[in-house]
């Protein structure tokens, strides 16, 4: 399990964690992982009981349409954390550090998931229009 602050220790990522997140990106793109949007979170449960959670950052009053994430976790069936990625963009900017591979992968996953939930909304709009 990774509990590092990725903004500061970005280069020490476990490559298997990065691989895991990249696999999730790929499977989400293929539509094999179903994500659900909840209040302040995006979650998915995949076969064999893995639980993935994205906790969203509070929406800024300056840019209410801009959604970002603050924490990504992947847990196994027993609830043990396999991956924990914290997104602290302000720290990264202030520290002048490059994003880690793990954070990059998590960012990519978030974009894909966010896009997928947007597609669901489009499908709902189209379905209602066709009534």
């Amino acid at each position: 399990m990774s509990t590092r602050n990725n903004a500061f220790f970005g280069l020490s990522d476990d490559p298997r964690e990065v691989e895991l997140i990249q696999s999730l990106v790929e499977k989400t793109r293929q539509g094999k992982i179903s994500w659900s949007k909840q209040a302040n979170a995006l979650t998915a449960t995949i076969p064999r009981g893995f639980q993935i959670n994205f906790v969203l950052a509070p929406t800024s009053f300056i840019s209410p349409n801009l959604t970002n994430w603050q924490l990504l976790t992947v847990r196994d069936t027993s609830g043990s954390e396999l991956v924990r990625v914290t997104n602290a963009p302000m720290i990264s900017v202030l520290a002048g550090t490059a994003k880690s591979a793990l954070l990059d992968a998590a960012d990519e996953l978030f974009k894909v998931v966010n896009g997928a939930t947007g597609d669901d909304l489009d499908r709902a709009i189209n379905a209602i229009k066709k009534l």
């Binding site: 979170a41 979650t43 959670n53 906790v55 800024s60 924490l71």
Partner: protein, 174 residues
């Protein structure tokens, strides 16, 4: 025909043996019933303990919600003498409840509480030094409120869930 003394003793022994066996059977049946009662009582006790634990946890999360809401009220009211004390009290309270009730929390709730804690910490770090409160802009105050909001949201949701579950447990066993 007259019975000898030995025959009387033999018959008496037989009767006593039959009575003894019957008493033994009654004793065993009684013991089994007592054991069943004990198990039922133990199950009931466990159920009450579980219900009480949920109830207490719900109360603690409600208290946390109240504290956070009170702090937000003080920020809105620009009661800057109160805010640092309230903020310093919230952090340990959150950590205590999160640690004590870890087993009752769902994975997403744990994650959301962790994020809420991070935001509360960021809020505490953003508090102005004494005497510099008037320099705070409206945007900065809005950002402070934004950082407190996730704690209220998640703590109140958990409190609600735990309270309902504590009531359901008692109903399920009736």
């Amino acid at each position: 025909m007259t019975l000898t003394f030995d025959q009387y003793v033999g018959i008496a022994g037989l009767v006593a043996g039959v009575v003894g066996v019957a008493a033994g059977i009654v004793g065993v049946v009684y013991a089994v019933k007592l054991d069943q009662k004990l198990k039922t009582a133990q199950q009931a006790e466990k159920q009450i303990e579980k219900k009480f634990m949920h109830y207490m946890a719900a109360q603690e999360f409600e208290e946390l919600t109240r504290k956070a809401a009170g702090m937000m009220g003080s920020i809105r009211g620009r009661e800057w003498t109160l805010v640092p004390g309230l903020a310093d009290a919230i952090g340990p309270s959150l950590g205590q409840v999160r640690g004590a009730r870890n087993r009752l929390l769902q994975s997403l709730e744990k994650d959301r509480l962790d994020v809420a804690a991070t935001n509360v910490q960021a809020f505490i770090d953003s508090l102005p030094l004494a005497g510099h409160e008037e320099e705070l802009t409206g945007d900065q105050i809005q950002t402070m409120l934004l950082r407190c909001r996730p704690l209220i949201d998640v703590a109140s949701e958990i409190a609600g869930r735990l309270r309902v579950e504590s009531m359901q447990q008692s109903g399920d066993k009736k």
